[in-house]
Symmetry: C2
Subunit: 420 residues, 2 copies
Amino acid sequence: MAKRNAFYAQSGGVTAVINATACAVIQTARQYPDLFDKVYAGHNGILGALKEELIDTSLETDRTVAALKHTPGGAFGSCRYKLRDLETSKAEYERLIEVFYAHNIGYFFYNGGGDSQDTAYKVSQMSEKMGYPLTCIGIPKTIDNDLPLTDNCPGFGSVAKYVAISTQEAALDIISMCETSTKVFILEVMGRHAGWIAAAAGLASYQEGDPPHIILFPEIAFNKERFLKRVQEVVQQHGYCVIVASEGTCYEGGRMLHATTEQDAFGHLQLGGVAPILAKMIKHELGYKYHYAVADYLQRSARHIASKTDVEQAYAVGKAAVEFAVAGKNAVMPAIVRQPGTPYQWTIGEAPLSEVANQEKLMPRSFITDDGYHITQEAKAYLEPLIQGEDYPPYYNGMPVYTDLKHTFVAKKLSRLFKV
Amino acid sequence: MAKRNAFYAQSGGVTAVINATACAVIQTARQYPDLFDKVYAGHNGILGALKEELIDTSLETDRTVAALKHTPGGAFGSCRYKLRDLETSKAEYERLIEVFYAHNIGYFFYNGGGDSQDTAYKVSQMSEKMGYPLTCIGIPKTIDNDLPLTDNCPGFGSVAKYVAISTQEAALDIISMCETSTKVFILEVMGRHAGWIAAAAGLASYQEGDPPHIILFPEIAFNKERFLKRVQEVVQQHGYCVIVASEGTCYEGGRMLHATTEQDAFGHLQLGGVAPILAKMIKHELGYKYHYAVADYLQRSARHIASKTDVEQAYAVGKAAVEFAVAGKNAVMPAIVRQPGTPYQWTIGEAPLSEVANQEKLMPRSFITDDGYHITQEAKAYLEPLIQGEDYPPYYNGMPVYTDLKHTFVAKKLSRLFKV
């Protein structure tokens, strides 16, 4: 079998561990030199393929590549750029194949969330249609944990750990001060439609009454009166109240507590602002002094406190993706499979891209308590294993040492520029 | 010399390492059983003395006390409650002496910022005036790093490390995505009048052009036009712009970018909201997609990434405070003294409370670059040693193990309740 090049791209919002996946793809491909010539990474994700901006990872040293495992962000650049159906985005799919052909790319590894798995699937269909032999493997990644057919998504465990620890630590601060100062603290976390990240804050509660006292999930309609009543009860009982709110918290009917009309490239609303809205509501109606934090990108880039389990899984899906390609598989995604029983054990399974694409896995109702404000034991049993272990990056001079790549571009071969 | 009890209280906003100081006070006092009978901790700081709510730390095991060293928040409760001058707050000073007398308290250790050092000084004056023998030792603590006569303040090094790392990590996220998504990221950090915390973000810049690109200090008047011009230049040059803004950023003349009329017990304005204001300004005037994070309490409770140097200094000032008392000193505060030269070395010195009280140490102008948007090499040389080393807490089941005290109250001896 002739050697061909591989193309790897990172897509959508990055995570603390997506580079661990990149590390695994490159390291594993290097183990099959008869099969893979070079691994080219897309500069800024799929845009790198469309614009023929390919980074030659073969020029990065083993040491640099190894250090990707502990470096947050997307080392090759990612993007929010959605390819639509094969007809609407026909020119783009054809361009991809054109670039792949020009650079003898026989393997397409696409590392992203639901939209990206959809793209990977469509690329596999297009390559077949055009008679261009291409192995397409999707690799799961999303802090939102909303992909189907995988028990969890690489990237989620680390944000879950960050949110649980931050909630616990901030709560210790507030309880210290609540007699004369802040009574209500709100932590706003990511999660547009699925409350997985907010749910993780529930791991900071060891027993009834522990903070966080109220978790707001996108899955549960927000009721202002009920919410304020609960806040008041909690403050009266404990002296303070810690709230963790998903950015996607919405009223019955789906109207977000705070939604702007600005949309990103995937057509998602740009959110942010639930915490100040809740804070003002509480101040106005109940008069409590509040503080709020908006974790925003800090939560998904916090490699310094990544979950070891998450790092291992992020690596494992990257490794499996290459091994799937070696085994001749196509249009599949490595999935994390939880083994029954305790202690927690996981293996790598396989999900067809056709079934992963464009589905969102919401929190099961059984993961949320009846009152809608906390997580159940069932949720804890699911979440707890995902935050196990610490995997500290190396430090120098007080700061983490994150790797920096050469980013050497492959010489362009196509005369045509592609307008994206 | 007859054995007497000691009183220890935590005051004002807590830090990731104030309990390391508490740990040192208790452990060191236990080493002088002939001098100190018991260490009583004020429940919610000085309020605990006024209300005669004293926690008997002698009932906490050595192991629990040792674990204070890695537990954030204020283990005995803190408060924002300011005693004013000796005349205005006469009843409160007298009440303190009354409670101290009732419980045979001969040592007063007050762990806080500038306001608290002032209180400790006044208590020493009052005890002298009333003829009650009391050793008063102030112990420095403040994330704001604004105490005079000490090279730095315990609590600051850890928030500095958190802010520097968070800035670095978030920047790696934004640079990955800026081609198609967020162009401007703003991190709002604490610091009402002094820009020390914002300055620490500058440690994430290793070379010219590295993020953060713009730091906003309370010491430098904010000029909207100049700021927006700079943001635009940075985005044009680098493709993205990372901004770290002090909550106390203000216009020429002192008007805060965002100030509510709500004040805390010390008469300070309750702040928060600089990041969204800057974000909207940028969106409106330049059209860039933005994200912002508000670190709020997360930054000062983040014990999981505390600076080892900070933990050691927080412990050292607690230990020195007790040793000062043993040595017969009074109305002093242990101070951190930086030794000349490199590598960084520090010792514990001694500052008279009369000179520490109510002074705010702002950033020297020489620590801020001429354009007002970054820190100088001189600032880096000052800041860098303070974030050295990691001091991870122990973990169990994926979460830090923070200590929980028994909080056993000493039986009240006074019939009179004191209204605070």
